[in-house]
């Protein structure tokens, strides 16, 4: 720790940081633009000028940029110094010369860092009366608006998009007063993290296009802390609602998981919540027709689904509460997994590895600290995008190490990057096709899944001779093994999406071999595809597979089925599901969007979506997180657990407490519940900001009398702007706001220190305790007989593979049809061209041919679209043939992969 004096007051600070960061950590106000807590300093904007004095006798001092000056012990600085203040005012005046002052029509208005900093700097009178520089804006795709005239050239956009997120299609163009930030030509911004530009840009150059279409000022949005349901990472988000519709999602800081950034699936994948297609009312089959049943008369039908002969199928996209309520209703013995049998087997292995003391499940922040990484078979950018972004930071650890050797502070972003050039920490990717992370990989091995598992085993054997012996002709094996062995914090990543349990076993063997050579637990990150795959799998007994449930239905052993928020046609071969559902006497489906499964229901009950209920989910690490209700559902949907509980009026807290008591490994779940002692005099946390406007008028079209605000007796939050005022140590923060800080940058006021934990704590609870010792795994071998076709690996797309976000109209604009990626040689042999319709195994499944240069001959990567391909009907290998014209609308034009064989340009 160092001591520095700021305006006559002594502070204890971290000398490894710069003055700006330390001033902000101390809660002081100092304006800035180009500095970002996650991206360090470049000194581009000159906004954070302060006066620094040589010693106590120095009366003149000199102006320095706080972001470019280390917080050295004994520093004496002044923020309030008149010269420094004047400098900051003049700087912002010049930055603002061509700014259009269009705040009333700008989407950033009211949460604009530029507005905040302008006020803070005291520049409130514009002297420049000449012509302003104007720019032509670009079409940047369905996610982002472009309004270059507002730009103040802080360079944050390209520093995030290119340097941090590895984008290649946004660049600073031209120079001085006509500097332009855009693409080389109009077109879709291709990075999967482009949405973060909305928050990274300090003003309104890049704004949320989907939000613009039903825009509301930040202060008029009703918000609550939420958790993204797009994948198993569990990023924290703040959804905002107005007039009964969900308007947008922004990032909510969580030091352990997403930090300041989320992916575009998470940001833009929510608007199915507002869909007209939502299941709105309970329907019960009467004869051949589904009939509306008045709420009061539903009870007998629901009660008919209890007692023996009823089984329940769980869901990886439903909350722990709903899954647990179903388990309580049907009993352990009748509670079945809601994921495909192969995936369930992989997930059970993942859960058993999660109890193993040899390993540690790294959080996203810990993934960023890895200095040698191997990824086995997971296409992280499309399966767990936020982890892919974290890996892009992990490869920079080499640069940081080099900088430390040269005494360059790590926050000196430009210097550190310049020093390292292309030097990166090792990242080895073993995959069945080229991935979007390959550009920062030190080794990429592209092969069939089985071959990859063997290479993984060979790496484990190379690291430790106690590992099962294995050899591989792959030349990188020795190198990768050595890199992992020599690393300070090696990381092994695999997961269940590849569909190969052998790859998970190989990954565990590599980590175990590393563990043998070192005393510490090895970071083993095992990724699963959906938000609550882990939570669901923890609740289901290991032998209760979906296949066995469907078999029981088909054999008539059981006749009644409850399906919880799940489309079984995404989990098993359509024929098998059909046979089982057709045989069942009664099928209750609880869901919020129509699916192939809801079409088979004899009793269909509407449930609420993620933003309409309070719920907990367990992420890939086994971290349980609480997500609050943001807004009410105006139809008759209620949380699925309520339909399934006998006490329809019970509250979610009681259910969470019961789950913590009864379900194995869930005992820490109730720690997530807010401590009621923190709430003064019964005051609740308002979901609406203190500036929330129009409450008396917003329903005037229906009735001129202002209705009573709905009472929320379920939650510590209220549907109101009244209650506990937002303060820096508020136990619950939906939308960050602090006096003078209206933008998301106000988060610094809620952090213990910059980039530290929030003062409120709460980064979730790690549920699974490690208390078992395991041993090396024998690799499962694939027994599927080859039928002479291509060996298939399943491919994923960030926009389309997730069931719910694929129902969002914003995401749909970026989706492609199902495709099958094959090598040029196989394409030649089969007479297929890019974009041809291909039939798979000749059984009616159609996909588009996508010829990729980096895929092994004899293998294919199959992307199933939004469940357009009945993947479980296909074997481990598939034969392809040209299909007649099919009814495919989207094609693969929007596909963004790194190696399309026929050049798009």
């Amino acid at each position: 720790m160092a001591k520095i004096v700021i305006d006559g007051i002594e502070y204890e600070v971290n000398p490894d940081n710069n003055l700006l960061q330390e001033c902000l950590s101390q809660g002081l106000d100092l304006p800035y633009f180009c500095w970002h807590p996650c991206m360090g300093s470049v000194g581009a904007c000159r906004q954070c000028a302060v006066k620094q004095y040589r010693d106590a006798d120095d009366e003149n001092g000199m102006l320095v940029m706080a972001c470019m000056t280390p917080a050295t012990d004994g520093s004496i600085i002044s923020i309030a110094d008149p010269q420094a203040k004047d400098m900051r005012e003049r700087v912002i005046e010049s930055l603002m010369i061509s700014h259009p002052h269009d705040c009333p029509v700008c989407e950033e208005g009211g949460e604009c860092h530029l507005q905040d900093m302008t006020l803070m700097s005291g520049h409130n009178y514009r002297r420049y009366d000449k012509k302003k520089v104007t720019h032509r804006n670009q079409y940047l795709g369905p996610f982002i608006n472009h309004e270059m005239n507002r730009c103040i050239t802080c360079y944050r956009c390209v520093r995030f998009y290119d340097d941090y997120a590895g984008g290649t299609d946004l660049a600073a163009q031209a120079s001085h007063h006509h500097t332009y930030f855009g693409r080389h030509e109009e077109g879709v911004l291709e990075s999967e993290f482009s949405g973060n530009l909305v928050e990274v840009c300090p003003t309104g150059v890049f704004t949320d296009k989907a939000f613009s279409e039903h825009y509301t000022r930040k202060w008029d949005l009703q918000t609550a802390p939420s958790v993204c349901t797009g994948c198993a990472v569990g990023c924290n988000t703040t959804p905002g609602e107005r007039y009964g519709s969900l308007r947008r999602i922004v990032n909510r800081y969580n030091s352990e998981i997403n930090g300041y950034f989320i992916c575009d699936r998470g940001r833009f994948g929510f608007d199915y919540v507002n869909s007209e297609e939502r299941i709105k009312i309970p329907l019960v089959k009467n004869g051949a027709e589904m009939e509306v049943v008045p709420a009061g008369e539903l009870q007998p039908t629901i009660e008919s689904f209890s007692g023996p002969g009823v089984i329940g199928i769980a869901s990886p996209r439903a909350s722990n509460e709903s899954n647990f309520a179903l388990r309580c209703l049907v009993g352990d013995e009748n509670f079945y997994s809601g994921i495909s049998d192969d995936e369930f087997e992989s997930t059970q292995l993942i859960l058993s590895l999660a109890k193993d003391t040899a390993f540690h499940s790294p959080s996203v922040r810990e993934i960023e600290q890895a200095d040698a990484v191997i990824v086995l078979g997971e296409d992280l950018t499309n399966v767990a995008p936020r982890i892919a972004l974290a890996l892009r930071q992990s490869v920079r650890n080499k640069a940081i190490e080099l900088a430390k050797d040269c005494n360059i502070p790590t926050w000196q972003d430009a210097a550190v990057r310049e020093l390292a050039q292309h030097d990166r920490s090792p990242l080895a990717i073993l995959s069945s096709y080229a991935t979007r992370l390959d550009d920062v990989a030190s080794d990429t091995v592209i092969d069939g899944l089985e071959a990859l598992a063997k290479i993984g085993s060979a790496i484990a054997a190379q690291i430790s001779d106690k590992a099962p012996p294995a050899n591989s002709a792959e030349e990188s094996v020795g190198r990768i093994a050595e890199q992992l062995l020599n690393a300070k914090r090696p990381l092994v990543i695999a997961g269940s999406s590849s569909g190969s349990i052998a790859l998970i076993q190989a990954a565990a063997n590599i980590a175990r071999a590393l563990n043998e050579k070192r005393s510490s637990a090895i970071d083993l990150c095992l990724v699963v595809p959906e938000v609550n795959t882990v939570g669901m799998s923890m609740l289901v007994n290991a032998n209760k597979t979906l296949g066995s449930a469907l078999a029981k239905l088909q054999s008539g052993e059981v006749s009644k089925l409850i399906v919880l928020e799940n489309d079984l046609y995404r989990r098993a071969a359509h024929k098998v599901v059909d046979a089982a559902l057709d045989k069942a006497d009664a099928v209750m489906v609880v869901d919020h969007m129509p699916t192939a499964t809801t079409a088979k229901a004899s009793c269909l009950l509407p449930s609420t979506t993620f933003s309409e209920h309070e719920a907990t989910y367990v992420n890939y690490e086994g971290r349980a997180q609480l997500s609050f209700q943001v807004h009410r559902n105006h139809a008759s949907a209620i949380p699925a657990w309520r339909w399934l509980s006998d006490q329809q009026h019970g509250d979610v807290d009681a259910l969470i407490n019961r789950c913590a008591e009864e379900a194995a490994n869930f005992d820490k779940l109730d720690d997530l519940l807010p401590d009621l002692n923190q709430f003064v005099a019964g005051m609740k946390i308002p979901r609406q900001s203190h500036r929330y406007s129009g409450r008396t008028a917003m329903k005037a079209n229906l009735n001129v009398h202002e209705p009573k605000q709905p009472v929320d007796d379920q939650s510590v939050m209220s549907f109101s702007m009244e209650g506990l005022p937002l303060s820096s140590d508020s136990p619950i923060v939906g939308s960050a706001w602090a006096p003078a800080w209206n933008s998301n940058q106000s988060i610094s006021k809620f952090q213990e220190e910059i980039n530290g934990d929030l003062k409120q704590g709460h980064t979730g609870e790690l549920l699974i305790e490690r208390n078992e010792t395991g041993s090396y795994q024998e690799l499962a071998s694939n027994t599927g007989s080859a039928n002479g076709g291509l060996q298939v690996a399943i491919a994923y797309q960030i926009f389309g593979s997730d069931e719910l976000s694929a129902k969002s109209s914003t995401i749909q604009q970026r989706m492609t049809d199902a495709y099958v990626a094959i090598s040029p040689a196989d394409a030649d042999a089969l007479g297929l061209k890019q974009g041809d319709n291909v039939s798979l195994d000749g059984n009616g499944n159609i996909a588009v041919a996508c010829i990729r240069s980096k895929i092994k001959q004899g293998t294919a990567a199959l992307y199933c679209g939004d469940n357009e391909v009945d993947r479980y009907a296909l074997g481990a290998s598939v034969s392809l043939g040209k299909a007649a014209d099919a009814n495919l609308v989207r094609g693969i034009k929007g596909l963004i992969v790194s190696d399309l064989y026929e050049e798009g340009y």
Binding site: D169, L170, Q173, A174, S898, G904, Y905
Partner: protein
């Protein structure tokens, strides 16, 4: 086919000529990585084609396997990388301090009258493009301008007429 660059663009790359490729390959030997060759490649293509079209830009991007956005960034940073077609002869006309003191404004109007073009324009016959530059480093002989690779000093209206006529006659 390339590794890093993403393929959504409306424009197609043109093939680079053998001469362009051999010169770019020569430059590649002189630099540590392909990124650094970007500017040289732009200069080479401009030397051969007169300017850098979108198709040329994509061709370089593909050849060097660097993002086209990065190339555009470099190309637009430097005024003398032409992203629009220019005339056969480019007049780089200094309008900086020394030349201004020596009366370049009058000469600018003279060229304007004679050729019918102002800064940024190309004559209809595509013989000349008229562009300002901040300094040509020959202030003691101001006013100065460059036409193609030749520097012309101590300019007067008569001298300019002669120079223009000379370049016209060269054709």
């Amino acid at each position: 086919m390339s590794t890093n660059i993403i393929a959504s663009t409306a424009t197609k790359a043109r093939p680079l000529t053998a001469a362009e490729i051999s010169e770019i390959e020569h430059e590649m030997e002189l630099y540590p990585d392909k990124q650094a060759v970007g500017l040289e490649a732009l200069k080479i293509v401009q030397k051969h084609q007169g300017w850098v079209s979108d198709e040329s830009m994509l061709a370089i991007s593909k050849f060097l396997d660097i993002p086209v956005a990065d190339l555009e960034s470099v190309a637009t940073f430097f005024n003398l990388v032409y992203r629009q077609p220019v005339g056969k002869n480019v007049i780089l006309f200094c309008n900086s301090v020394s030349c201004w003191i020596m009366g370049c404004d009058g000469l600018r109007s003279h060229i304007n009258d004679q050729l019918g073009v102002d800064f940024g324009d190309t004559t209809e016959d595509e013989a000349f493009t008229f562009i300002p530059v901040p300094c040509l480093g020959d202030c003691d002989r101001a006013p100065v301008m460059m036409v193609g690779d030749d520097l012309h000093r101590n300019l007067t209206e008569e001298k300019i007429d002669q120079i223009v006529a000379d370049y016209r006659n060269k054709e």
